[in-house]
């Protein structure tokens, strides 16, 4: 992976000055490369990784396995793109295996998600079936573990 991307995936808030030092580049080189990655659509955005259980105004997350009918000419793309347009949809992936799309939904409460699935998602022409599962607890989010491990101590000076 591009080391610049790898660093930003670890911490998107690293300053360009620090990125430049770590990558042995000048600051303007870093800025140029960032601009290009953004305009090429490689970097799509910068977001905070949040423990949603600690955010007031709780969020409900569900994963929905969706079976759809592929179309001549477009396969799964047109329907998948249409589903992805809904603001409730956080992520949408075409999967191998027993169903076609994995859709991750976020809503204010259970009811909101149920309504979305019943009234929007399931009624789209071409959607054959849905299977919904709700998230109960998060242990790791975007590579960040939520259980705080106590850092093992190291001696301050060793050979």
């Amino acid at each position: 992976m591009d080391p610049l991307i790898a660093l930003l995936r670890q911490n998107a808030r690293t300053s360009t000055a620090d990125l430049a030092r770590e990558l042995n580049l000048s600051e303007s080189e870093v800025l140029d490369r960032l601009a290009k990655l953004e305009s090429d659509g490689v970097i799509l955005g910068y977001q905070a990784v949040v423990d949603s259980q600690k955010v007031s105004g709780s969020i409900v997350t569900a994963v929905v396995e969706v079976k759809i009918t592929p179309e001549r000419g477009g396969g799964f793309d047109r329907l998948a793109e249409r589903i992805a347009k809904f603001s409730e949809v956080q992520s949408c992936y075409l999967m191998s295996g027993g169903y076609d799309l994995l859709v991750i939904l976020e809503g204010a409460n259970l009811q909101e998600i149920a309504t979305f699935i019943a009234e929007k998602l399931s009624t789209i022409k071409g959607v054959i079936s849905t299977a919904t599962r709700f998230r109960l607890k998060t242990y790791k989010e975007n590579g960040v573990s939520l259980t705080r491990e106590i850092k093992a101590e190291r001696l301050a000076v060793t050979p």
Binding site: L23, R154, A156
Partner: protein, 390 residues
């Protein structure tokens, strides 16, 4: 009443470790950012720890063969062949040890007669000279210089060879300087070793931590060298396994046999759980090593530039996780610099002379610490340097 007269002369005469002394001073301070460590800040990757748990769960709590688990020896030979291009027979030419430290002790005791001379480059790891003395040898330091990026040159080595020279100890990438050797220089050194019939102990514990896509060359892989080399390696640095105390030596059968005589009576065998973990590390640990190496490389880039920006000249080492900046422009000795920095700014680094007299004018800073800590440490070192110049 002193019982010092009961202590063996050669042990009594070994000076106290400079690092140990400095550790005691640092231990009295609180909230210190330490650049004084000699080990990774990463915990051992989880899959390796998990393999150790599995081993314990399944009651693998017994002795192993003296040489070590046959599966581990086979894994090691495969790994050494692949990465260092030297072939060893897992049945007779590998011995699993309690870290490289034990392996060095075994090798020196196996080959030295009293008064035999052992050459080593300096600044170097703290145990080399005492290990030689404990094996009744004579330690002969060959100073290396900042202008050579602390590489050992064949010329410097040749100037210290005498008819009593028997062993050459090498450690590249080097603790404390981060120095590495080029193939061309190693070839010249190998020629000298063959001409003067030297045995070479090559401690390559930091070899996976080689940066800038540079090639790590083992002297054991050069023509005519395998038969006179003890290749020393372990798991501490690349796999972040310092506390597991597990390393190994690969050497021709006649030399392994001699080392084995000492190992079987002194140690019996290396820790079984650690041996099982080591197999997991070699078989499935490459990805973790790569990601740690990338991280170290970023930190190295950062800290080297930061030191040079402060006017403390620092070569950019290609290996290990240490930098060895020259602090003499502050007008302070290494010790004054390290003590002052600790006292006034709560940053610990190790004075260069802890690694041999030729380390004067330098300090060792380890960048196996999070970048956030390194940044704060560099800010404080900047303040300290500015204040000392007033």
């Amino acid at each position: 009443m002193t019982f010092n007269k009961h202590i063996a002369n050669h042990i009594r005469d070994i000076p106290k470790s400079g690092i140990r002394e400095f550790f005691d001073i640092v231990a009295q301070e609180k909230e210190v950012i330490s650049l004084g460590v000699g080990e990774p800040d990463f915990d051992t990757p989880w899959h390796i720890r998990e393999a150790a748990i599995y081993s314990l769960e399944h009651g693998r709590t017994h002795y192993t063969s003296n040489l070590g688990l046959p599966e581990l020896r086979a894994s090691i030979c495969k790994y050494v062949q692949k990465h260092f291009h030297v072939g060893y027979d897992p049945r007779t030419e590998v011995i699993i040890t309690v870290g490289v430290s034990e392996a060095i002790d075994l090798a020196l005791r196996a080959v030295l007669n009293p008064g035999d001379e052992v050459l080593y480059h300096e600044p170097c790891y703290v145990s080399y000279s005492p290990s030689v003395v404990m094996a009744h040898g004579k330690a002969v330091a060959v100073p290396t210089r900042a202008e050579d990026q602390f590489r050992l040159t064949a010329e410097a080595l040749a100037a210290h060879i005498t008819p009593r020279s028997k062993v050459l100890m090498l450690n590249f990438p080097c603790n404390p300087t981060g120095a590495t050797q080029t193939r061309a220089e190693l070839e010249k050194i190998a020629r000298l070793c063959i001409d003067h019939d030297l045995i070479v102990l090559t401690d390559e514990i930091y070899s996976e931590l080689t940066y800038d896509n540079a090639e790590h060359v083992s002297i054991a892989s050069l023509p005519g060298m395998r038969e006179r080399c003890v290749f020393l390696h372990g798991f501490s640095k690349a796999f972040a396994m310092t506390g597991w105390r597990i390393g190994y030596a690969c050497a021709p059968g006649w030399l392994t046999d001699a080392m084995m005589k000492i190992h079987q009576y002194a140690i019996l065998c290396a820790n079984t759980t650690s041996q099982d973990a080591a197999i997991e590390a070699l078989e499935h640990g490459a990805h973790g090593v790569d990601s740690m190496r990338r991280e170290y490389e970023h930190r190295r880039n950062y800290i080297v530039r930061a030191f040079n920006d402060l006017g403390l000249s620092c070569h950019k080492p290609v290996g290990a996780f240490y930098i060895f900046p020259n602090i003499s422009s502050t007008g302070l000795t290494s010790r004054e610099f390290s003590l002052g920095l600790l006292e006034k700014k709560k940053v610990a680094c190790v004075p260069g002379p802890a690694f041999g007299a030729s380390g004067e004018g330098f300090v060792r800073c380890c960048y196996a610490t999070s970048l956030d800590q390194i940044k704060v440490a560099m800010d404080r070192i900047g303040e300290f340097v500015a204040e000392s110049k007033k």
